[in-house]
Symmetry: C3
Subunit: 200 residues, 3 copies
């Protein structure tokens, strides 16, 4: 049985859903209103720092060239490091449920990460596929491949399945937060409310 390490919230969302906007706004609100210290960590960044400190890479581009066994080990070490941070702080983990690669959907939170983190909650930030397609097409600077509305819908559907599989492993709850166009403040408010709902 996976064990809780403290208060850990995993926040995921597919590209273009506005996860960062929601996270920043909710973090600000959480810090403004609460006494508990809140820490926001980006899972990819912690992985890179672990790999760098072990002399495995010098820059982030080298991460994808690590042998898959090494990548998995670094992924596990990052999970343990983040779990350690939760001893005296609320930790919000910014990561991906499923990363869309040319070779298929890759789990961002495989079982060994889910177990090591054992979060209180998995949050799926979602929006209507049409909204996400619209945001991506306006977001030319980040040069994302334009996916069809149907592909975006599939990606979100599979992320739900992945979140439920993770929850089965850890016993955590799964919450979908809708981030509709022009409603990021509402999404952030709902997210902060969740952070407060879990006393431990």
């Amino acid at each position: 049985m996976a064990e809780r390490k403290g208060r850990i919230f995993i926040v995921t969302g597919i590209p273009g859903v506005g996860k960062t906007t929601v996270l920043d706004a909710s973090l600000e609100a959480a810090r403004a209103s609460g006494s508990d210290e809140v820490l926001l960590v980006n899972y990819g960044t912690v992985m890179f720092e672990e790999a760098k400190s072990k002399g495995l890479v010098e820059n982030r581009d080298q991460m994808r060239n690590l042998p898959s066994e090494v990548q998995r080990e670094v992924q596990r070490l990052a999970a343990e490091k983040i779990a350690g941070m939760a001893k005296n702080k609320i930790v919000i983990v910014d990561t991906h449920m499923l990363i869309k690669t040319p070779e298929g959907f890759l789990p961002g939170i495989p079982i060994w990460v889910a177990e090591a983190l054992c979060p209180n909650l998995f949050i799926l930030v979602e929006a209507f596929p049409e909204e996400i397609a619209g945001r991506r097409s306006r977001d030319a600077a980040r040069n994302r491949d334009l996916e069809s509305v149907k592909d975006i819908d599939l990606h979100q559907q599979l992320c739900r399945s992945a979140a439920i599989a993770c929850a089965e492993i850890t016993g955590s709850t799964v919450k979908i937060i809708m981030n509709h166009d022009g409603k990021a403040e509402e999404a952030a408010a709902e997210t902060v409310k969740l952070f407060k709902a879990f006393k431990r």
Copy 2:
């Protein structure tokens, strides 16, 4: 590899789907037709009895105030107790696949429960979301929050994912039983047929 304990059938369904009606009718039919002894247990009740016998609570309302680690341990003990009942009886477990809480969907059958029970079959009692919405709105006495048809559909969809994740862990089959308006007898008959299909 999870091990079979005997004949265990887990029956789940979201509020308003008519799970109890189907269970009562199928239990009656199973007992009338068969020689094997059939036992119906409510998972929540077994959990409460376990907690009470350990002096952790005095009434059911106190269950939700137990620390989450204690809740999980009680949940696991209940699973082992139910598995023990399956040595000489067919055990039908009335429980929830995913409980909808304000903090998100909570797995009713996390991995440690699924493994301890290792059932032959997970049954999802379902109905059209519109039927469930109709039943809930007529069922004023139980004072349920009225959810949209879309939310009901989501809840059922996620329960399917949870059932499949459980089945992956235990190797059990997953069966959807449709309980359409006015067709509880048919649903019960289909359920009884399933109980009989598993010889062990």
Copy 3:
């Protein structure tokens, strides 16, 4: 953490999706173009051979009469045998994600098989439910029960959930390959491209 054994690709698809056609064409193309040795194994056949070599059965029909514990053990032994083949060859495993039985959907790749194989990739060969229904109705020779388009859609949806649950356990990617009417060559070409994408 499940460990990679070599290059293993699991290819699944529900009856009528044209999995065999895609597999045969992709295998031919892979062998024609590549230097690595490629092995195609049928999971059910390996299971039968394991059971036969242990004196448990004499013909395939007897497989379904084995006690479920024995079936599961044979299933696990077959997974280990296939994992062993991957030491010096690319192994493509032809199997089912969820087998539709009268008693419900049975996982073809439960957790102990997923962990023993720990494939690079789970491929779901899919088609529109209408296409699959059409192919099945024309394929009278194999005498398949005719399912509704809705049932076919459900089967494919649940297979996606099962694939995601497997991927959570192994960290493998999940890829959907569409095998539309008259487009088996395209599906095969896409499949071969995937085989080549994983260097190990």
